[in-house]
Protein backbone atom coordinates (compact mmCIF):
# COMPACT_ATOMS: atom_id res chain seq x y z
CA UNK A 1 0.00 0.00 0.00
CA UNK A 2 1.07 3.56 -0.72
CA UNK A 3 2.78 5.41 2.11
CA UNK A 4 -0.14 7.79 2.30
CA UNK A 5 -1.84 9.81 4.96
CA UNK A 6 -4.90 7.55 5.00
CA UNK A 7 -3.72 4.78 7.34
CA UNK A 8 -2.21 6.97 10.08
CA UNK A 9 -5.22 9.26 9.88
CA UNK A 10 -7.75 6.46 10.40
CA UNK A 11 -5.60 5.02 13.19
CA UNK A 12 -5.42 8.35 15.00
CA UNK A 13 -9.17 8.92 14.61
CA UNK A 14 -9.80 5.36 15.78
CA UNK A 15 -7.81 5.98 18.95
CA UNK A 16 -9.59 9.29 19.52
CA UNK A 17 -12.86 7.35 19.22
CA UNK A 18 -11.61 4.77 21.76
CA UNK A 19 -10.19 7.22 24.28
CA UNK A 20 -12.17 10.48 24.13
CA UNK A 21 -15.12 9.17 26.19
CA UNK A 22 -12.76 7.77 28.82
CA UNK A 23 -10.83 11.06 29.04
CA UNK A 24 -14.02 13.09 29.42
CA UNK A 25 -15.12 10.72 32.18
CA UNK A 26 -11.89 11.43 34.05
CA UNK A 27 -12.00 15.20 33.49
CA UNK A 28 -15.58 15.57 34.68
CA UNK A 29 -14.96 13.45 37.78
CA UNK A 30 -13.08 16.50 39.11
CA UNK A 31 -15.97 18.82 38.29
CA UNK A 32 -17.50 20.93 41.03
CA UNK A 33 -20.89 21.08 39.27
CA UNK A 34 -23.52 18.39 39.60
CA UNK A 35 -23.96 18.50 35.81
CA UNK A 36 -21.59 15.93 34.39
CA UNK A 37 -20.90 17.86 31.19
CA UNK A 38 -20.69 21.52 32.24
CA UNK A 39 -17.44 22.59 33.86
CA UNK A 40 -17.98 24.30 37.22
CA UNK A 41 -14.45 24.40 38.63
CA UNK A 42 -12.06 21.84 40.08
CA UNK A 43 -13.18 19.78 43.06
CA UNK A 44 -12.75 16.36 44.58
CA UNK A 45 -16.11 16.34 46.33
CA UNK A 46 -17.44 13.34 44.34
CA UNK A 47 -14.52 11.24 45.54
CA UNK A 48 -15.41 12.14 49.10
CA UNK A 49 -19.03 11.27 48.48
CA UNK A 50 -17.99 7.97 46.94
CA UNK A 51 -16.02 6.87 49.99
CA UNK A 52 -18.88 7.78 52.31
CA UNK A 53 -21.44 5.76 50.31
CA UNK A 54 -21.95 2.46 52.20
CA UNK A 55 -23.91 0.96 49.31
CA UNK A 56 -21.02 1.38 46.86
CA UNK A 57 -18.35 0.30 49.36
CA UNK A 58 -20.33 -2.81 50.27
CA UNK A 59 -20.96 -3.68 46.62
CA UNK A 60 -17.29 -3.17 45.75
CA UNK A 61 -16.31 -5.53 48.57
CA UNK A 62 -18.77 -8.20 47.36
CA UNK A 63 -17.54 -7.82 43.77
CA UNK A 64 -13.90 -8.20 44.78
CA UNK A 65 -14.64 -11.30 46.86
CA UNK A 66 -16.66 -12.90 44.06
CA UNK A 67 -13.99 -12.04 41.46
CA UNK A 68 -11.08 -13.44 43.49
CA UNK A 69 -12.83 -16.71 44.34
CA UNK A 70 -14.30 -17.33 40.89
CA UNK A 71 -11.08 -16.39 39.04
CA UNK A 72 -9.07 -18.78 41.21
CA UNK A 73 -11.41 -21.75 40.69
CA UNK A 74 -11.85 -20.90 37.00
CA UNK A 75 -8.06 -21.04 36.54
CA UNK A 76 -7.93 -24.56 38.00
CA UNK A 77 -10.85 -25.88 35.94
CA UNK A 78 -9.84 -24.00 32.79
CA UNK A 79 -6.29 -25.36 33.01
CA UNK A 80 -7.67 -28.89 33.38
CA UNK A 81 -9.81 -28.38 30.26
CA UNK A 82 -6.87 -26.98 28.27
CA UNK A 83 -4.51 -29.74 29.42
CA UNK A 84 -6.98 -32.52 28.68
CA UNK A 85 -7.75 -31.15 25.22
CA UNK A 86 -4.09 -30.56 24.29
CA UNK A 87 -2.40 -33.63 25.79
CA UNK A 88 -4.89 -36.49 26.11
CA UNK A 89 -5.33 -37.28 22.43
CA UNK A 90 -8.60 -38.98 21.64
CA UNK A 91 -11.09 -39.93 24.32
CA UNK A 92 -14.81 -40.57 24.33
CA UNK A 93 -16.19 -37.25 25.56
CA UNK A 94 -13.68 -35.10 23.71
CA UNK A 95 -16.11 -33.53 21.23
CA UNK A 96 -18.59 -32.81 24.03
CA UNK A 97 -15.93 -31.17 26.20
CA UNK A 98 -14.60 -29.08 23.30
CA UNK A 99 -18.09 -27.86 22.51
CA UNK A 100 -18.98 -27.03 26.09
CA UNK A 101 -15.66 -25.27 26.67
CA UNK A 102 -15.98 -22.97 23.65
CA UNK A 103 -19.73 -22.30 23.56
CA UNK A 104 -19.69 -19.94 26.59
CA UNK A 105 -17.42 -17.61 24.58
CA UNK A 106 -20.17 -16.79 22.08
CA UNK A 107 -23.21 -17.36 24.29
CA UNK A 108 -25.24 -14.18 24.87
CA UNK A 109 -25.06 -13.20 28.52
CA UNK A 110 -28.84 -12.98 28.89
CA UNK A 111 -29.15 -16.65 27.94
CA UNK A 112 -26.34 -17.80 30.24
CA UNK A 113 -27.86 -15.81 33.10
CA UNK A 114 -31.42 -17.02 32.57
CA UNK A 115 -30.42 -20.67 32.13
CA UNK A 116 -28.28 -20.72 35.28
CA UNK A 117 -31.00 -19.04 37.32
CA UNK A 118 -33.58 -21.60 36.16
CA UNK A 119 -31.11 -24.36 37.01
CA UNK A 120 -30.57 -23.00 40.52
CA UNK A 121 -34.33 -22.69 41.09
CA UNK A 122 -34.93 -26.25 39.88
CA UNK A 123 -32.04 -27.61 41.96
CA UNK A 124 -33.41 -25.89 45.03
CA UNK A 125 -36.81 -27.51 44.45
CA UNK A 126 -35.36 -30.97 43.87
CA UNK A 127 -32.29 -31.11 46.11
CA UNK A 128 -32.74 -28.22 48.53
CA UNK A 129 -29.39 -26.78 47.36
CA UNK A 130 -28.49 -23.98 46.76
CA UNK A 131 -30.85 -22.61 49.39
CA UNK A 132 -31.71 -19.21 48.02
CA UNK A 133 -29.40 -17.20 45.82
CA UNK A 134 -26.59 -14.77 46.46
CA UNK A 135 -22.82 -14.72 46.41
CA UNK A 136 -22.44 -18.49 46.03
CA UNK A 137 -24.66 -18.67 42.94
CA UNK A 138 -22.88 -15.66 41.39
CA UNK A 139 -19.53 -17.37 41.98
CA UNK A 140 -20.71 -20.61 40.35
CA UNK A 141 -22.02 -18.67 37.33
CA UNK A 142 -18.80 -16.67 36.98
CA UNK A 143 -16.59 -19.76 37.23
CA UNK A 144 -18.59 -21.36 34.44
CA UNK A 145 -18.23 -18.56 31.90
CA UNK A 146 -14.69 -17.54 32.93
CA UNK A 147 -13.21 -21.03 32.67
CA UNK A 148 -13.79 -20.99 28.91
CA UNK A 149 -11.60 -17.88 28.58
CA UNK A 150 -8.90 -19.37 30.82
CA UNK A 151 -8.97 -22.56 28.72
CA UNK A 152 -8.33 -20.54 25.52
CA UNK A 153 -5.37 -18.68 27.03
CA UNK A 154 -3.78 -21.80 28.54
CA UNK A 155 -4.37 -23.88 25.39
CA UNK A 156 -2.44 -21.43 23.24
CA UNK A 157 0.45 -21.52 25.73
CA UNK A 158 0.42 -25.34 25.80
CA UNK A 159 0.44 -25.38 22.00
CA UNK A 160 3.44 -23.00 21.95
CA UNK A 161 5.62 -24.80 24.51
CA UNK A 162 8.27 -27.35 23.67
CA UNK A 163 6.72 -30.73 24.36
CA UNK A 164 10.04 -32.59 24.23
CA UNK A 165 10.83 -31.42 27.80
CA UNK A 166 7.77 -33.28 29.05
CA UNK A 167 8.71 -36.33 27.01
CA UNK A 168 12.24 -36.26 28.39
CA UNK A 169 10.94 -36.24 31.96
CA UNK A 170 8.57 -39.08 31.10
CA UNK A 171 11.44 -41.10 29.58
CA UNK A 172 13.45 -40.59 32.74
CA UNK A 173 10.65 -42.32 34.62
CA UNK A 174 8.71 -39.41 36.12
CA UNK A 175 5.03 -40.15 36.67
CA UNK A 176 2.50 -38.00 34.73
CA UNK A 177 1.39 -36.10 37.86
CA UNK A 178 5.01 -35.29 38.71
CA UNK A 179 5.71 -34.19 35.11
CA UNK A 180 2.70 -31.88 35.22
CA UNK A 181 3.63 -30.20 38.50
CA UNK A 182 7.43 -30.08 38.00
CA UNK A 183 7.69 -29.38 34.26
CA UNK A 184 4.46 -28.26 32.62
CA UNK A 185 3.09 -26.02 35.35
CA UNK A 186 6.18 -23.78 35.70
CA UNK A 187 6.36 -23.38 31.92
CA UNK A 188 2.69 -22.39 31.50
CA UNK A 189 2.64 -20.25 34.67
CA UNK A 190 2.54 -16.92 32.77
CA UNK A 191 -0.59 -18.12 30.96
CA UNK A 192 -2.18 -19.00 34.30
CA UNK A 193 -1.49 -15.49 35.57
CA UNK A 194 -2.92 -13.98 32.37
CA UNK A 195 -5.94 -16.28 32.59
CA UNK A 196 -6.52 -15.37 36.22
CA UNK A 197 -6.38 -11.65 35.45
CA UNK A 198 -8.75 -12.09 32.52
CA UNK A 199 -11.22 -14.09 34.63
CA UNK A 200 -10.93 -11.57 37.47
CA UNK A 201 -11.70 -8.67 35.10
CA UNK A 202 -14.60 -10.48 33.44
CA UNK A 203 -16.12 -11.33 36.81
CA UNK A 204 -15.65 -7.80 38.16
CA UNK A 205 -17.28 -6.38 35.02
CA UNK A 206 -20.28 -8.66 34.70
CA UNK A 207 -23.70 -7.09 35.13
CA UNK A 208 -26.13 -9.27 33.20
CA UNK A 209 -25.34 -12.77 34.48
CA UNK A 210 -25.00 -11.59 38.08
CA UNK A 211 -28.35 -9.77 37.90
CA UNK A 212 -30.08 -13.01 36.96
CA UNK A 213 -28.49 -15.32 39.51
CA UNK A 214 -28.22 -13.01 42.51
CA UNK A 215 -30.54 -12.93 45.48
CA UNK A 216 -31.59 -10.34 48.03
CA UNK A 217 -28.68 -8.54 49.65
CA UNK A 218 -25.99 -9.51 47.17
CA UNK A 219 -25.65 -6.53 44.83
CA UNK A 220 -22.36 -6.43 42.97
CA UNK A 221 -20.65 -3.18 41.97
CA UNK A 222 -21.87 -3.24 38.33
CA UNK A 223 -25.43 -3.74 39.58
CA UNK A 224 -25.19 -0.66 41.84
CA UNK A 225 -23.57 1.41 39.07
CA UNK A 226 -26.24 0.31 36.60
CA UNK A 227 -29.12 1.32 38.84
CA UNK A 228 -27.46 4.69 39.54
CA UNK A 229 -26.77 5.36 35.85
CA UNK A 230 -30.29 4.33 34.87
CA UNK A 231 -31.76 6.89 37.26
CA UNK A 232 -29.79 9.64 35.58
CA UNK A 233 -26.64 11.68 35.97
CA UNK A 234 -24.46 10.78 38.94
CA UNK A 235 -21.02 12.43 39.15
CA UNK A 236 -19.83 9.99 41.82
CA UNK A 237 -19.93 7.27 39.14
CA UNK A 238 -17.35 9.36 37.23
CA UNK A 239 -15.14 9.38 40.31
CA UNK A 240 -15.48 5.61 40.63
CA UNK A 241 -14.66 5.18 36.93
CA UNK A 242 -11.53 7.30 37.30
CA UNK A 243 -10.31 5.19 40.20
CA UNK A 244 -10.90 1.95 38.26
CA UNK A 245 -9.18 3.33 35.14
CA UNK A 246 -6.24 4.48 37.27
CA UNK A 247 -5.79 1.03 38.81
CA UNK A 248 -6.02 -0.66 35.40
CA UNK A 249 -3.57 1.76 33.75
CA UNK A 250 -1.13 1.21 36.61
CA UNK A 251 -1.47 -2.58 36.31
CA UNK A 252 -0.96 -2.58 32.55
CA UNK A 253 1.95 -0.17 32.88
CA UNK A 254 3.71 -2.44 35.37
CA UNK A 255 3.03 -5.50 33.21
CA UNK A 256 4.51 -3.78 30.14
CA UNK A 257 7.55 -2.60 32.04
CA UNK A 258 8.14 -6.13 33.38
CA UNK A 259 7.77 -7.57 29.90
CA UNK A 260 10.26 -5.09 28.44
CA UNK A 261 12.75 -5.92 31.17
CA UNK A 262 12.30 -9.66 30.52
CA UNK A 263 12.86 -9.14 26.79
CA UNK A 264 15.97 -7.04 27.40
CA UNK A 265 17.32 -9.71 29.78
CA UNK A 266 16.71 -12.37 27.12
CA UNK A 267 18.69 -10.35 24.59
CA UNK A 268 21.71 -9.93 26.83
Amino acid sequence: MKRGIFLPLVTVLGFVFLYAPILSLIVFSFNESRLVTVWGGFSTRWYGQLFRDPQILNAAWISLRVAVVSASIAVVLGTLVAFVLMRFGRFRSRALLTGMATAPLVMPEVITGLSLLLLFVSMEQLLGWPAGRGETTIIIAHITFCLAYVAVVVQSRLAGMDQSVEEAAMDLGARPVRVFFDITLPIIAPALVAGWLLAFTLSLDDLVIASFVTGPGASTLPMVIFSKVRLGVSPDVNALATIIIGIVALGVGIAMWQMRRAIRRDRE
Binding site: G14, I111, P176, V229, G251
Partner: protein, 307 residues
Protein backbone atom coordinates in the same frame (compact mmCIF):
# COMPACT_ATOMS: atom_id res chain seq x y z
CA UNK B 1 5.26 -46.69 44.32
CA UNK B 2 3.96 -46.84 47.86
CA UNK B 3 1.64 -49.61 48.97
CA UNK B 4 -1.19 -47.32 49.92
CA UNK B 5 -1.14 -45.64 46.56
CA UNK B 6 -1.22 -48.99 44.75
CA UNK B 7 -4.24 -50.05 46.79
CA UNK B 8 -6.21 -46.85 46.02
CA UNK B 9 -5.27 -47.04 42.37
CA UNK B 10 -6.41 -50.63 41.98
CA UNK B 11 -9.65 -49.80 43.81
CA UNK B 12 -10.27 -46.90 41.45
CA UNK B 13 -9.27 -49.09 38.53
CA UNK B 14 -11.93 -51.62 39.49
CA UNK B 15 -14.49 -48.81 39.38
CA UNK B 16 -13.26 -48.01 35.90
CA UNK B 17 -11.65 -44.79 37.04
CA UNK B 18 -8.04 -44.12 36.27
CA UNK B 19 -6.27 -40.91 37.26
CA UNK B 20 -6.62 -39.86 33.66
CA UNK B 21 -10.39 -40.32 33.65
CA UNK B 22 -10.63 -38.36 36.88
CA UNK B 23 -8.81 -35.41 35.33
CA UNK B 24 -11.27 -35.43 32.44
CA UNK B 25 -14.26 -35.96 34.70
CA UNK B 26 -13.86 -32.90 36.94
CA UNK B 27 -14.27 -30.16 34.28
CA UNK B 28 -16.62 -32.35 32.26
CA UNK B 29 -19.06 -32.81 35.13
CA UNK B 30 -18.86 -29.12 36.05
CA UNK B 31 -19.71 -28.06 32.49
CA UNK B 32 -22.44 -30.67 32.16
CA UNK B 33 -24.14 -29.51 35.35
CA UNK B 34 -23.67 -25.77 34.98
CA UNK B 35 -23.65 -25.31 31.23
CA UNK B 36 -25.48 -28.08 29.35
CA UNK B 37 -28.22 -29.08 31.80
CA UNK B 38 -29.32 -25.44 32.30
CA UNK B 39 -30.31 -25.34 28.62
CA UNK B 40 -32.46 -28.42 29.09
CA UNK B 41 -34.09 -26.67 32.05
CA UNK B 42 -34.73 -23.59 29.88
CA UNK B 43 -36.24 -25.80 27.17
CA UNK B 44 -38.42 -27.49 29.78
CA UNK B 45 -39.68 -24.27 31.31
CA UNK B 46 -40.35 -22.76 27.89
CA UNK B 47 -42.99 -25.49 27.56
CA UNK B 48 -44.72 -24.81 30.84
CA UNK B 49 -47.46 -22.41 31.78
CA UNK B 50 -46.97 -19.16 33.63
CA UNK B 51 -48.65 -18.81 37.01
CA UNK B 52 -48.57 -16.54 40.03
CA UNK B 53 -46.46 -18.56 42.42
CA UNK B 54 -42.90 -19.14 43.47
CA UNK B 55 -41.38 -20.15 41.07
CA UNK B 56 -43.84 -18.60 38.59
CA UNK B 57 -44.53 -21.59 36.34
CA UNK B 58 -46.57 -24.80 36.51
CA UNK B 59 -44.83 -28.19 36.59
CA UNK B 60 -44.70 -30.14 33.32
CA UNK B 61 -45.20 -33.49 34.95
CA UNK B 62 -48.08 -33.96 37.36
CA UNK B 63 -48.43 -36.98 39.60
CA UNK B 64 -51.80 -37.48 41.26
CA UNK B 65 -50.87 -40.71 43.03
CA UNK B 66 -52.19 -42.98 40.29
CA UNK B 67 -50.79 -41.71 37.05
CA UNK B 68 -48.58 -39.00 35.69
CA UNK B 69 -49.84 -36.41 33.26
CA UNK B 70 -47.51 -34.52 31.00
CA UNK B 71 -48.62 -30.96 30.29
CA UNK B 72 -46.72 -29.72 27.28
CA UNK B 73 -47.67 -26.19 26.45
CA UNK B 74 -46.58 -24.75 23.12
CA UNK B 75 -48.54 -21.55 23.73
CA UNK B 76 -45.36 -19.59 24.49
CA UNK B 77 -43.89 -20.30 21.08
CA UNK B 78 -47.22 -19.58 19.36
CA UNK B 79 -47.28 -16.30 21.27
CA UNK B 80 -43.77 -15.36 20.04
CA UNK B 81 -44.77 -16.28 16.52
CA UNK B 82 -48.02 -14.30 16.51
CA UNK B 83 -46.93 -11.13 18.26
CA UNK B 84 -44.93 -9.07 15.71
CA UNK B 85 -42.96 -7.47 18.55
CA UNK B 86 -40.72 -10.52 18.92
CA UNK B 87 -40.12 -11.11 15.21
CA UNK B 88 -39.28 -7.45 14.76
CA UNK B 89 -36.92 -7.48 17.73
CA UNK B 90 -35.06 -10.48 16.23
CA UNK B 91 -34.76 -8.87 12.82
CA UNK B 92 -33.73 -5.55 14.31
CA UNK B 93 -31.05 -7.22 16.49
CA UNK B 94 -29.59 -9.05 13.51
CA UNK B 95 -29.58 -5.82 11.47
CA UNK B 96 -27.93 -3.79 14.22
CA UNK B 97 -25.32 -6.51 14.76
CA UNK B 98 -24.60 -6.78 11.04
CA UNK B 99 -24.27 -3.03 10.44
CA UNK B 100 -22.12 -2.58 13.57
CA UNK B 101 -19.81 -5.44 12.60
CA UNK B 102 -19.42 -3.94 9.11
CA UNK B 103 -18.64 -0.48 10.52
CA UNK B 104 -16.16 -2.02 12.98
CA UNK B 105 -14.49 -3.81 10.07
CA UNK B 106 -14.21 -0.58 8.04
CA UNK B 107 -12.57 1.22 10.98
CA UNK B 108 -10.68 -1.76 12.35
CA UNK B 109 -9.02 -2.97 9.15
CA UNK B 110 -6.96 0.16 8.42
CA UNK B 111 -6.02 0.40 12.10
CA UNK B 112 -4.95 -3.25 12.28
CA UNK B 113 -3.02 -2.84 9.00
CA UNK B 114 -1.22 0.26 10.23
CA UNK B 115 -0.35 -1.36 13.57
CA UNK B 116 0.87 -4.56 11.90
CA UNK B 117 3.17 -2.55 9.58
CA UNK B 118 4.57 -0.32 12.34
CA UNK B 119 8.17 -0.74 13.54
CA UNK B 120 8.61 -2.60 16.82
CA UNK B 121 8.43 -0.36 19.86
CA UNK B 122 5.49 1.54 18.35
CA UNK B 123 3.66 -1.65 17.38
CA UNK B 124 3.50 -3.06 20.93
CA UNK B 125 2.52 0.33 22.28
CA UNK B 126 -0.37 0.73 19.80
CA UNK B 127 -1.52 -2.83 20.37
CA UNK B 128 -1.56 -2.29 24.14
CA UNK B 129 -3.56 0.89 23.58
CA UNK B 130 -6.15 -1.14 21.66
CA UNK B 131 -6.47 -3.70 24.46
CA UNK B 132 -6.34 -1.25 27.37
CA UNK B 133 -10.00 -0.09 27.26
CA UNK B 134 -11.08 -3.72 27.40
CA UNK B 135 -9.63 -4.05 30.91
CA UNK B 136 -11.66 -1.13 32.23
CA UNK B 137 -15.31 -1.56 33.04
CA UNK B 138 -17.50 -2.02 29.99
CA UNK B 139 -20.49 -0.54 31.83
CA UNK B 140 -18.57 2.64 32.66
CA UNK B 141 -17.40 3.06 29.08
CA UNK B 142 -21.00 2.87 27.84
CA UNK B 143 -21.93 5.36 30.55
CA UNK B 144 -19.19 7.67 29.23
CA UNK B 145 -20.98 7.77 25.88
CA UNK B 146 -24.14 8.95 27.62
CA UNK B 147 -22.19 12.03 28.73
CA UNK B 148 -20.90 12.48 25.19
CA UNK B 149 -24.16 12.13 23.32
CA UNK B 150 -26.79 13.75 25.56
CA UNK B 151 -28.39 17.07 24.52
CA UNK B 152 -26.24 19.07 26.92
CA UNK B 153 -23.37 16.63 26.42
CA UNK B 154 -19.80 17.13 25.28
CA UNK B 155 -20.46 16.86 21.52
CA UNK B 156 -23.44 19.21 21.46
CA UNK B 157 -21.77 21.73 23.77
CA UNK B 158 -18.68 21.79 21.57
CA UNK B 159 -20.64 22.20 18.35
CA UNK B 160 -22.78 24.98 19.84
CA UNK B 161 -19.81 26.88 21.27
CA UNK B 162 -18.09 26.65 17.88
CA UNK B 163 -21.22 28.12 16.31
CA UNK B 164 -21.75 25.14 13.97
CA UNK B 165 -25.25 24.41 15.27
CA UNK B 166 -27.57 26.45 17.51
CA UNK B 167 -29.97 23.79 18.74
CA UNK B 168 -28.60 20.53 20.14
CA UNK B 169 -28.84 17.43 17.95
CA UNK B 170 -30.76 14.59 19.59
CA UNK B 171 -28.33 11.66 19.67
CA UNK B 172 -28.88 9.85 22.96
CA UNK B 173 -31.81 7.40 23.00
CA UNK B 174 -31.63 6.83 19.25
CA UNK B 175 -30.56 3.87 17.14
CA UNK B 176 -27.53 5.92 16.11
CA UNK B 177 -26.30 5.89 19.71
CA UNK B 178 -26.71 2.09 19.82
CA UNK B 179 -24.56 1.68 16.70
CA UNK B 180 -21.90 3.95 18.19
CA UNK B 181 -21.98 2.04 21.47
CA UNK B 182 -21.62 -1.38 19.84
CA UNK B 183 -18.85 -0.35 17.42
CA UNK B 184 -17.02 1.36 20.28
CA UNK B 185 -17.31 -1.61 22.65
CA UNK B 186 -16.39 -4.31 20.17
CA UNK B 187 -13.77 -2.53 18.04
CA UNK B 188 -10.85 -4.19 19.91
CA UNK B 189 -12.42 -7.60 19.18
CA UNK B 190 -12.28 -6.72 15.47
CA UNK B 191 -8.75 -5.31 15.52
CA UNK B 192 -7.03 -8.15 17.41
CA UNK B 193 -7.78 -11.08 15.05
CA UNK B 194 -7.15 -8.81 12.04
CA UNK B 195 -3.80 -7.75 13.51
CA UNK B 196 -2.85 -11.37 14.27
CA UNK B 197 -3.55 -12.17 10.64
CA UNK B 198 -2.00 -9.10 8.97
CA UNK B 199 1.20 -9.26 10.99
CA UNK B 200 1.95 -12.59 9.28
CA UNK B 201 1.36 -11.12 5.83
CA UNK B 202 4.41 -11.78 3.67
CA UNK B 203 5.90 -8.51 2.39
CA UNK B 204 7.44 -10.21 -0.61
CA UNK B 205 3.99 -10.99 -1.99
CA UNK B 206 3.08 -7.29 -1.91
CA UNK B 207 6.40 -6.41 -3.54
CA UNK B 208 5.91 -9.07 -6.21
CA UNK B 209 2.51 -7.65 -7.02
CA UNK B 210 3.96 -4.14 -7.26
CA UNK B 211 6.89 -5.37 -9.43
CA UNK B 212 4.43 -6.97 -11.80
CA UNK B 213 2.81 -3.58 -12.23
CA UNK B 214 -0.09 -3.97 -9.82
CA UNK B 215 -1.27 -0.62 -8.57
CA UNK B 216 -1.76 -0.33 -4.77
CA UNK B 217 -5.54 -0.67 -5.10
CA UNK B 218 -5.20 -3.81 -7.23
CA UNK B 219 -2.60 -5.27 -4.84
CA UNK B 220 -4.99 -4.63 -1.95
CA UNK B 221 -7.97 -6.34 -3.59
CA UNK B 222 -6.09 -9.24 -5.18
CA UNK B 223 -3.42 -9.98 -2.56
CA UNK B 224 -4.00 -8.42 0.85
CA UNK B 225 -7.75 -8.88 1.11
CA UNK B 226 -7.95 -12.58 0.11
CA UNK B 227 -5.02 -13.41 2.39
CA UNK B 228 -6.61 -11.68 5.38
CA UNK B 229 -10.01 -13.37 4.95
CA UNK B 230 -9.67 -15.67 8.00
CA UNK B 231 -8.93 -12.64 10.18
CA UNK B 232 -11.85 -10.70 8.72
CA UNK B 233 -14.26 -13.57 9.34
CA UNK B 234 -12.99 -14.15 12.89
CA UNK B 235 -13.29 -10.45 13.72
CA UNK B 236 -16.73 -10.22 12.15
CA UNK B 237 -17.95 -13.18 14.20
CA UNK B 238 -16.52 -11.77 17.44
CA UNK B 239 -18.51 -8.55 16.92
CA UNK B 240 -21.65 -9.89 15.24
CA UNK B 241 -22.52 -12.76 17.58
CA UNK B 242 -22.34 -11.00 20.97
CA UNK B 243 -23.93 -7.84 19.54
CA UNK B 244 -27.15 -9.74 18.72
CA UNK B 245 -27.83 -10.54 22.37
CA UNK B 246 -26.60 -7.19 23.73
CA UNK B 247 -28.61 -5.78 26.63
CA UNK B 248 -26.64 -2.98 28.32
CA UNK B 249 -25.97 -0.87 25.21
CA UNK B 250 -29.58 -0.62 23.91
CA UNK B 251 -30.78 -0.13 27.49
CA UNK B 252 -28.44 2.77 28.28
CA UNK B 253 -27.99 4.40 24.87
CA UNK B 254 -31.10 3.40 22.91
CA UNK B 255 -34.57 4.81 23.13
CA UNK B 256 -37.61 3.02 24.54
CA UNK B 257 -38.33 1.72 21.03
CA UNK B 258 -34.87 0.27 20.47
CA UNK B 259 -36.09 -3.25 21.13
CA UNK B 260 -33.22 -5.65 20.73
CA UNK B 261 -33.86 -9.24 21.62
CA UNK B 262 -31.62 -9.33 24.68
CA UNK B 263 -33.59 -6.42 26.10
CA UNK B 264 -36.90 -8.13 25.32
CA UNK B 265 -35.77 -11.24 27.20
CA UNK B 266 -34.65 -9.10 30.16
CA UNK B 267 -38.01 -7.30 30.30
CA UNK B 268 -40.02 -10.52 30.03
CA UNK B 269 -38.05 -11.88 32.93
CA UNK B 270 -37.61 -8.92 35.26
CA UNK B 271 -40.59 -6.66 34.42
CA UNK B 272 -43.32 -9.13 33.41
CA UNK B 273 -42.00 -12.01 35.53
CA UNK B 274 -43.05 -14.34 32.73
CA UNK B 275 -40.36 -17.01 33.04
CA UNK B 276 -41.85 -19.41 30.45
CA UNK B 277 -42.00 -16.71 27.74
CA UNK B 278 -38.49 -15.51 28.65
CA UNK B 279 -37.31 -19.13 28.25
CA UNK B 280 -39.02 -19.43 24.89
CA UNK B 281 -37.31 -16.20 23.76
CA UNK B 282 -33.97 -17.68 24.87
CA UNK B 283 -34.53 -20.91 22.94
CA UNK B 284 -35.60 -19.02 19.82
CA UNK B 285 -32.55 -16.77 20.18
CA UNK B 286 -30.25 -19.82 20.30
CA UNK B 287 -31.83 -21.13 17.11
CA UNK B 288 -31.37 -17.74 15.44
CA UNK B 289 -27.72 -17.62 16.56
CA UNK B 290 -26.82 -21.10 15.37
CA UNK B 291 -27.37 -20.17 11.70
CA UNK B 292 -24.87 -17.28 11.44
CA UNK B 293 -22.33 -19.08 13.66
CA UNK B 294 -22.44 -22.16 11.42
CA UNK B 295 -22.23 -20.02 8.26
CA UNK B 296 -19.23 -18.07 9.55
CA UNK B 297 -17.52 -21.26 10.80
CA UNK B 298 -17.76 -22.92 7.39
CA UNK B 299 -16.68 -19.70 5.64
CA UNK B 300 -13.65 -19.60 7.91
CA UNK B 301 -12.82 -23.24 7.27
CA UNK B 302 -12.97 -22.55 3.52
CA UNK B 303 -10.81 -19.44 3.83
CA UNK B 304 -8.22 -21.36 5.90
CA UNK B 305 -8.12 -24.11 3.26
CA UNK B 306 -7.47 -21.64 0.45
CA UNK B 307 -4.38 -20.18 2.08
Amino acid sequence: MTGARRVTESALGRLGLSGRALVVAVPLVWLLVFFLIPFLVVAKISLSEVTIARPPYLPLLEWDGLRATLNLNFENYAYLWNDPLYGNAYLFSVRVAFVSATLALLIGFPMAYYIARSPEPRRTLLLTAVILPFWTSFLLRVYAWQGFLRSNGVINNTLISLGIIDTPIVMLQTDFAVYIGIVYTYLPFMILPLYANLVKLDDSLLEASADLGGRPVATFFYVTLPLSMPGIIAGFMLVFVPAIGEFVIPELLGGPNTLMIGRVLWNEFFANRDWPVASAVAIAMLVVLVVPIMALRSAQARAEEKR
